[in-house]
Amino acid sequence: MRLAPRPRKNLLFWLGVIVFLLSMSLWSARGIGFSLTELVCNLTDGSRLLRESWPPDLAFLARLVDPMLETVFIAVVGTVVGGIFAIPVAVLAARNLTPNRLTWFADRNFMNILRTLPDLFWAMLFATAVGFGPVAGALALTVFTVAVISKLYSESLESIDMGLPEAIRAVGGSWLQMIQFGALPQALQHYVSYALYAFELNIRASVVLGLVGAGGIGMILETQRANFEYERVTMIILAVLVAVLMIEEVSESIRKRLT
């Protein structure tokens, strides 16, 4: 038997997509005042900046240890505290586990609002509440972590086998016990993996939050840049690069081993 000829509409379709994307890009570039000529001029100007930024100020490295640790601590606190709060948020938003529809609905919306607002927004909010510094940073990352983990985790929980939770019910277990013994263990691997993923995001976010005054290495970067200490800025960027890469590498290898 011969196959029917393959439909040829694909070519035209993709051509349309490409034309659409190109025109969208051009339109957007005009919108933000992006021009190629300006970019080239600025690049030559930028080469002066580059020359001033080299070589990196190695002596400055010693003074980076403490702020770097602070950045990591902010990320750790945000991940751990946020990771704990994410569990109830995820459970109540899982259709198969939530005690009733109203709770589910409220929690779903709460979760979506958290996800809509960016981490910088939370940093600003907490900075006004508790003042600029590492505490505001950790609080912002706590919320950010809940936002990242809860949605993913609630989806994992929705796909568990409900046989075990039912067995816990059958021995006379409460709703909480059903969650603890019947549901959470089944999605534990996913949870750990999501938490590590959130930690990787938090390390980077922690650096950025420092730029707006949340402490840590980002804050040093911002002060040195404001003082035109470009050789120190280079040193900081290199240090951040190495540290973040190392942390992500470790975290990723743990995640890989889990799945």
């Binding site: 046989g163 075990l164 039912e166 067995a167 816990i168 019910r169 059958a170 021995v171 006379g172 277990g173 409460s174 909480l176 016990q177 603890q180 013994f181 019947g182 263990p185 534990l188």
Partner: protein, 266 residues
């Protein structure tokens, strides 16, 4: 093995009980059934006949839509979750797919049978009182897998996992055990071992035992009393030893074949 104090009684009574599922499927129809304490009852019927529905009605996993089911005279609650949990405390359930917490040890899994017997915070923090741990060990002894106490449940064979399932039920110190096709995912040799375990436990502890079975020869061999269901209705209730092929034909609504027998289908 001193800890196993058999709970009193374990009588089950259905009165004009019916279950119609939300989608209109009939799971149980006008069932009147009295089961005496300590009986070993085997329930047969073709797929969809309502065997699981019947078992799950006893511990309230399925609510009746009509009539009542009572245990030792007390109606199984449908609304108060506290009453329901108090009754479930003494009703063990064994499943075809074992339903163990795979990442926990055998011991932790058996202790789950004590969940409703200890204060909630103790179970939550894994701080089980000594008497409860002794009950769990005793339950493990009864199914002969004390040597596996600290092994992760996921590392056991199917037969061993089902023994843990039985031990978990025993740890409840139940007056009733419900077994929903407990051997359907086991090989023939293990099947006979598990069935023998269930019978022995029934004799030793006097626990009322209801077992759903797929295979007719198993039902004949191990059952005392045999109950046949068809389209949610009770169509046979008599001795498993004297049940005839004609009775089976009636229960199944067709001639039975080799696939209905363990020995031939395996």
């Amino acid at each position: 093995m001193t800890q196993q104090t058999p709970s009193p009684a374990g009588a089950i009574q259905f009165r004009n009980a019916s279950i119609t599922y939300p989608n209109g499927a009939i799971g149980m129809k006008n069932l009147d059934l009295q089961i005496e304490p300590g009986e070993f009852v085997v329930i047969v019927g073709s797929s969809g006949a309502g065997k699981s529905t019947l078992l799950r009605a006893v511990n309230g996993l399925n609510a009746l839509t009509e009539g009542t089911v009572a245990i030792d005279g007390e109606t199984v609650a449908t609304h108060s979750s506290r009453d329901l949990r108090r009754m479930r405390k003494r009703i063990g359930m064994i499943f075809q797919d074992f339903r163990l917490v795979k990442r926990l040890s055998v011991m932790s899994n058996v202790l789950i049978g004590r969940l409703a017997h200890v204060p909630g915070w103790r179970a939550m923090l894994n701080l089980w009182p000594l008497p409860d741990r002794e009950i769990a060990i005793d339950a493990l002894m009864r199914v002969g897998i004390t040597d596996k106490a600290w092994v992760k449940a996921s590392q056991l064979s199917g037969g061993q996992q089902q023994r843990v399932g039985i031990a978990r039920a025993l740890a409840q110190q139940p007056s009733i055990i419900l077994a929903d096709e407990p051997v359907a995912s086991l090989d023939p040799v293990t099947t006979h071992q598990i069935m023998k375990d269930l019978v022995r436990i029934n004799r030793e502890l006097g626990i009322t035992t209801l077992v759903n079975l797929h295979f007719l020869d198993l039902a004949r061999e191990y059952g005392d009393r045999l109950i046949g269901l068809r389209f949610g209705e009770l169509v046979f209730d008599g001795s498993a030893k004297t049940v005839t092929d004609e009775d089976f034909r009636n229960i199944y609504g067709r001639d039975f074949t080799e696939s209905d027998l363990l020995e031939d289908s395996a």
